[in-house]
């Protein structure tokens, strides 16, 4: 297991350097100069422009700029935002807990519904349940997030008044961040009703962000289950008179989980991408919206720092998934 882990970690370093290079170059190959964008319609004199170029360090060759950036990254310095003039690292960690909280809730929601839905569909292959569930999954997968979110807001918040429209907690509650996770901080605050308010605010964004992973997990579970259910050992188990619940729930599902875990791991990237729209609509103060704003403003340090941090998170999740394979199927770690 240790060697397996080491082999996986060895791929980490080149990927990390590759990501720093790509994130650094990505924003620079986009047309648009951050100083011109900042000046807007007002414009800027050539003299002032050159002053700012020097001040921001753009007078140096790109390779030297990259080297400076990499040197900073190694020391934990991701640079300072052009726009807010604050360290990118501080901004990222101020916003990331909100994205993480929402992503975890969305993933729990997607798994809690997606896994049983996939199993039920597989067991009832070709029947009404199967068709209904898979059609719903397809609709869920194809639904534009923006439209889906607004539809839910209009129905559940606007018309029925069951859920708040947006935000993380009712504005009446005010406490400083301890963990950055509103569900936890609301409990720590000791304010009556704060946890309930935070939970209510999570409902719609969780559903919206979790819809696509839910659809993917359901479909993947179904196809993996179908494959496993056709295996000889399942037939043998049936022949031995084992109960269908034990066959499906223990023998089939465990083996069907490997591709499902892969999909769940890959969904983390999807969740972070989906978070951009979900966060914008629900006024959720996370990293998705922060990144989009920064791209429009050509805020180089934020874009490259944010991309790097997101990439590192995805890499860590994938590493965890690789390790989980080994736990689920011991044969993999011996390869």
């Amino acid at each position: 297991m240790f060697r397996y882990l080491l082999a996986r970690l060895a791929t980490f370093l080149p990927t990390f350097i590759g990501v720093t290079l790509i994130s650094f170059m990505f924003i620079r190959v986009l047309p648009g100069d951050p100083i011109i964008v900042m000046a807007g319609e007002r414009g800027i004199s050539e003299e002032r422009y050159q002053e700012l170029v020097v001040k921001l360090g753009y007078d140096k060759p790109v390779l030297a700029q990259y080297w400076d950036y990499l040197g900073g990254v190694v020391q934990g310095d991701l640079g300072t935002s052009f726009v807010t003039k604050k360290p990118v690292w501080d901004e990222f960690f101020a916003l990331f807990p909100a994205t993480l909280e929402l992503s975890i809730c969305a993933m729990i929601f997607a798994m809690a519904l997606g896994l049983p839905a996939g199993v039920i569909a597989a067991v009832n292959r070709g029947k009404f349940f199967d068709r209904a569930l898979m059609s719903s999954a397809l609709i869920g997968y194809s639904m534009p997030i923006f439209w889906w979110a607004l539809l839910l807001i209009i129905v559940f918040s606007g018309n029925l008044g069951w859920t708040p429209v947006s935000g993380r907690i009712d504005l009446l509650y005010y406490f400083d961040d301890v963990t950055g996770f509103m569900l936890i901080d609301s409990v720590l605050s000791g304010q009556e009703g704060a946890f309930k308010s935070a939970a209510r605010h999570l409902i719609l964004p969780t559903i919206v962000l979790g819809t696509i992973p839910l659809a993917v997990i359901a479909r993947q579970t179904r196809s993996a289950m179908l494959e496993v259910l056709g295996e000889d050992y399942i037939r043998t188990a049936r022949a031995k008179g084992m109960s269908p619940a034990r066959i499906n729930g223990v023998h089939a599902l465990r083996n069907a989980l490997i591709p499902v875990v892969t999909v769940i791991g890959l969904s983390v990237g999807t969740l972070l991408a989906g978070a951009i729209l979900t966060e914008t609509i629900f006024s959720w103060p996370g990293i998705g919206k922060w990144m989009v704003d920064s791209i429009f403003r050509r805020d180089y340090p934020v874009v490259q720092g944010g991309l790097l941090m997101i990439a590192v998170i995805v890499m860590i999740v994938n590493l965890t998934v690789d390790v989980l394979y080994g736990v689920i199927n011991p044969k993999i770690r011996k390869r």
Binding site: M38, E41, I153, I154, L171, D176, D177, T179, S283
Partner: protein, 527 residues
């Protein structure tokens, strides 16, 4: 991460009914870049910083562009217009915060501190928070202000390098907000100078309480405000970037006021129960600037003929969906000096075609540049360009629409030899006609903000003369004359002024739509 849990239950964790009785929730459209207005240029930042937290020596009267006394009770200009002396108000208190308790009232040192940090490179605050002081530099204040002298604790003299009548209006702008020099010293001593930007201390009607990034900003009323204290106890900005969601929040009672509704929602909002829609023309103009240095657009008659081919009403209906007004002048009608006697070019394709033929122009091919971004003065430049393309086709002019990434667009459109007419616009900074006419159409602006590359001596003479006279009545006459010349020469097709809509709960009383686009909550109450 903070280890100590701080629960500010006293201020906000009240029961719903009592808290909302004196709390105004504003669903703002975006996050502030910071809270030191001089560091930034976005209106969203000014809404959250300069208006609630700070004051200026002179201020714009809410709802108008009139300049009224602020922290200066009065001012006078020297006869040559080179010196402005401000007499400061006494007994004005700065806010207290967790980090700072002021030991003295506002005085001349605060004025000098607030400007010198923007001007002098050796000032301890010049480099703090990456200060580039864009507005101060952009308005030419660095070169204009020769020195700032403290006459006594309550008198400050600004010595200018040349006479400049718009100087007073500049002093009412957000970058001219007055910060506490004592707070500045305290933060330097504490090793946290950036707190000036993150934990603002001012003299304004509301003191800053807390900002949760991209989520909520909280303020409380300043009980010691030098005017009367605000009518509301708490002011909350609930940051809500999506316009449809802001509308849903307003409907659900989660906020009292929202800016920038979707044009498509405006009709529905107007008939919504419990919601009042306020509206006013914005202090902006959207235009099509010809390149007046390139033939045949160097001929005013050709430009005038093209202007007659534009169906502006169709543009207002389709592009602005009604939330705009036809522009006949390069300055908006809410601005002093506006020449209402001017008659707009009549939409007449047949006459336009005949006029073009009379000038020997036929089968003309031209480019129209469409901005890639949405602006209040032009919510959909691509659509506007398509309408212009269709209008010009009717008079035999073939239009190719081009566009570039926004930064590229701004750079390339400045080129003296640019091929094509550019769609662009301007939102006023200080309510002074000079801020439109000199910046956008003056000779000095060529190859910069003057996209028409137009330099016409009679027009230039009028605006330069108006710049050095301090009497507003005389200045207004000169600007009216300048607009007549502009209309005759037609360097642009003036297209529209947007209308600013502010939907709010009917419980909100006393709100005034501000022509400069600011959202100001002093003087507002909630029933």
């Amino acid at each position: 991460m903070k280890s100590k849990l701080f629960v500010a239950t006293t201020a906000f964790a009240l029961t719903a009914s009592t808290a909302f009785a004196s709390t105004l929730v504003y669903c703002s459209e975006g996050s502030p870049e910071g809270f030191d207005p001089a560091l930034f240029t976005a209106g969203t930042t000014f809404d959250a910083s300069s208006h609630p937290v700070y004051n200026r020596l002179v201020e714009f009267e809410t709802g108008t562009t009139n300049v009224i006394p602020g922290l200066a009770e009065s001012y006078e200009a020297s006869d040559d217009g080179m010196e402005y002396t401000f007499h400061l108000r006494k007994g004005v208190k700065f806010h207290s915060s967790d980090n700072f308790t002021p030991s003295r009232d506002f005085n001349a040192d605060d004025v000098i501190f607030s400007f010198e940090r923007q001007q002098k490179e050796d000032h301890p605050y010049n480099k703090v928070s990456g200060g580039t002081w864009e507005y101060f530099q952009g308005m030419g204040m660095g070169d204009l202000v020769k020195s700032i002298e403290k006459i006594d604790d309550h008198t400050v003299k600004f010595v200018l390098s040349k006479p400049e009548a718009p100087f007073v209006a500049n002093m009412a702008m957000d970058f001219a907000s007055i910060l506490s020099a004592e707070y500045g010293d305290a933060m330097i001593a504490a090793g946290t100078p950036e707190m000036m930007n993150t934990a603002p201390v001012g003299t304004g009607p509301f003191s800053f309480v807390a900002y949760q990034k991209d989520a909520v900003i909280r303020y409380k009323a300043n009980a010691e405000y030098w005017k009367a204290p605000a009518d509301i106890d708490n002011l909350i900005f609930a940051i809500t970037p999506d316009a449809s969601v802001r509308y849903q929040k307003l409907k659900a009672g989660e906020c009292h006021v929202m800016p920038y509704p979707n044009p498509a929602d405006i009709d529905a909002i107007k008939v919504e129960d419990g919601i009042v829609m306020m509206e006013q023309e914005g202090l902006n103009v959207g235009y099509l600037a010809y390149n007046t240095t390139v033939a045949p657009f160097d001929n005013p008659k050709v430009r005038k003929a093209l202007n007659m081919a534009i169906d502006k009403q169709a543009i207002i209906d389709v592009v602005f969906q009604g939330s705009g007004e036809i522009a006949k002048n390069p300055i908006p009608p809410t601005m002093w000096g506006y020449n209402d006697a001017i008659v707009d070019d009549k939409y007449d394709p047949a006459a336009a075609k005949a006029a073009l033929e009379a000038e020997g122009v036929s089968g003309l091919d031209m480019k129209i540049w469409a901005m890639p971004v949405q602006r209040p003065y032009n919510p959909n430049a691509r659509r506007m360009a398509e309408l212009l393309q269709s209008d010009f086709a009717k008079v035999g002019v073939n239009v190719e629409i081009v566009s570039y990434e926004w930064g590229e667009y701004l750079s390339r459109s400045k080129d003296l030899n640019r091929d094509g007419a550019v769609l662009l616009g301007w939102t006023g900074d200080n309510g002074d006609p000079d801020n439109f006419l000199a910046v956008l159409l003056g000779c000095e602006g060529r190859e910069a903000s003057n996209r028409a590359q137009w330099c016409h001596q009679p027009f230039e003479d009028a605006i330069q003369k108006a710049k050095v006279i301090t009497d507003q009545g005389e200045r207004a006459k000169l600007y009216e004359e300048a607009q007549t010349i502009f209309k005759d020469q037609a360097p642009w097709a003036t297209i529209a002024h947007s209308v600013v809509y502010m939907p709010m709960s009917e419980k909100v009383k006393g709100y005034k739509v501000h022509p400069l686009g600011s959202h100001i909550f002093y003087g507002v109450s909630v029933e």
